[in-house]
Symmetry: C2
Subunit: 270 residues, 2 copies
């Protein structure tokens, strides 16, 4: 199996190395990622500037750093670096990608969506943390993520993606707790109430920070599962933003089977 591991936090993110370490023995695994962090770059693609690719050694592993966005990176991997990609794993993102509001501007999910447009199964992994150091705070959570990533790759290898699903987004809570479980849920519409903070610089000119305040999460959404329950949210997404036209029947049985397999992998109660 040819596996592409990529992200939007950049080639030096420990989240990328973790994701690679989870699956490195499951096939021929390539690490191709932006050379610098490209958070919140959505599906931006670079058409007006040439792109560079540097081959590098990342703690003993050959990796490729690109000067582009996560979407550019997927195209360079698919068209130039790898012969064939069987699955794209994007992450682990520093920060959860819950809610459509966040999904729409997420580079982690953007990379997965570009892969899906190319017809490649794709999954995004994100943790509810704010700092790379926090990856090392909870080994039980890392272990759960490892089991889930491996089980997901094996599931897709054997069964393919459930019909009607383009991207699987998996969001992990900040902390592992006993009986944590994977739950299939749709993304909430919004996670943040968007705010602007107006400030004045030392030279007397006004500048602004965009930020968000979390809104109350509705039960049965990814935001609620991750932030209120402390469970793991499995959110199936599609790139089909058309209001009109037919949609494929979603294989809900396949999704339930996937959730069951992922829960088994972490010994969660079924």
């Amino acid at each position: 199996m040819n596996i592409l591991v990529t992200n939007d936090d950049g080639i030096y993110s420990p989240g990328l190395r973790l994701l690679y370490s989870f699956v490195k023995d499951l096939g021929r695994v390539y690490v191709v990622a932006p050379e610098t962090p490209k958070s919140a770059s959505g599906l931006g693609i670079t058409l007006h500037k040439p792109l560079r690719v540097s081959r590098m050694d990342l703690e003993g592993v050959t990796a490729y750093a690109t000067s582009g966005t996560p979407s550019d990176t997927v195209y360079l991997a698919a068209l130039e670096i790898m012969d064939k990609i069987d699955i794209v794993l994007s992450g682990i993102n520093i920060g959860d990608n819950t809610s459509i509001q966040v999904v729409l501007s997420s580079g982690t999910i953007g990379a997965a969506m570009q892969a899906a447009l190319l017809g490649i199964p794709a999954a995004a992994f994100s943790f509810d943390i704010t700092d790379p150091e926090q990856f090392w705070e909870d080994p039980a959570l890392i272990s759960a993520a490892r089991h889930i990533a491996r089980a997901l790759v094996k599931f897709v290898e054997e069964e393919g993606m459930p019909r009607g699903v383009d991207v699987i987004s998996i969001n992990f809570p900040r902390r592992f707790r006993p009986n944590v479980a994977v739950k299939i849920v749709p993304a909430a519409k919004v996670k943040f109430s968007q705010k602007v903070d107006r400030r004045v610089d030392p030279r007397g000119s006004t500048y602004y920070w965009l930020y968000g305040e979390m809104v109350k999460a509705e039960p049965g959404t990814d935001v609620y599962v991750v932030h209120e329950e402390g469970n793991i949210a499995l959110t199936p997404l599609t790139f089909n933003m058309n209001v009109l036209g037919e949609r494929p029947q979603v294989d809900t049985k396949g999704l339930e089977k996937l959730a069951k397999v992922l829960n088994s992998s972490i010994g969660a109660p079924q």
Copy 2:
């Protein structure tokens, strides 16, 4: 009516000025746009850098240039510059935004999507041109776009957006032709077969250009309507990328009424 006119080609694009000129007498119209072109920036938002806003005179009109992306610009307009926004008009983009592939990375549609997330009706306008000079090549097309933009604003003022529709994307062909008509169509999945061109710079280092070759368009899609028929495509979009969960019933009658109103405005055969 409080109207925000914005774009992703930047505050100096003639497309922005055209769109403003179309609707300037229909309400209190604000022009707020990125200070430099931000094409293909999707829904990227800027969280790690402060933003600036400059008030400027744009050929006699007060306009606001932001240092951010199209999405940042919508937030700054909604939260800082305008009291209330009744409709967001984004464009006119230099280049059509047909197909989901293009929609996903379009800053023009990204701005409209962010507005929709805030609950604001939003429409994106795009021309199948490659250069700003081409805006002046076909006065009949400009005239049609003017009638359509005005009719759309009035329709939304009176009836609101058709239920189930978050963003209306309107793509115009390169040239006006007799009996041109507005057609309601979904977006095609892809427009381009993505390619990479590998080159060597004068110093002997490799670099890459991403580009696309158009694929054969399927009838009944936005790509076909704009590029094969030379008609105007009206594509209703949603930000709801969830595979799961309920969707509102789409008001197809409302959409048909809108298309009829737009066709009447340009004297198209009904």
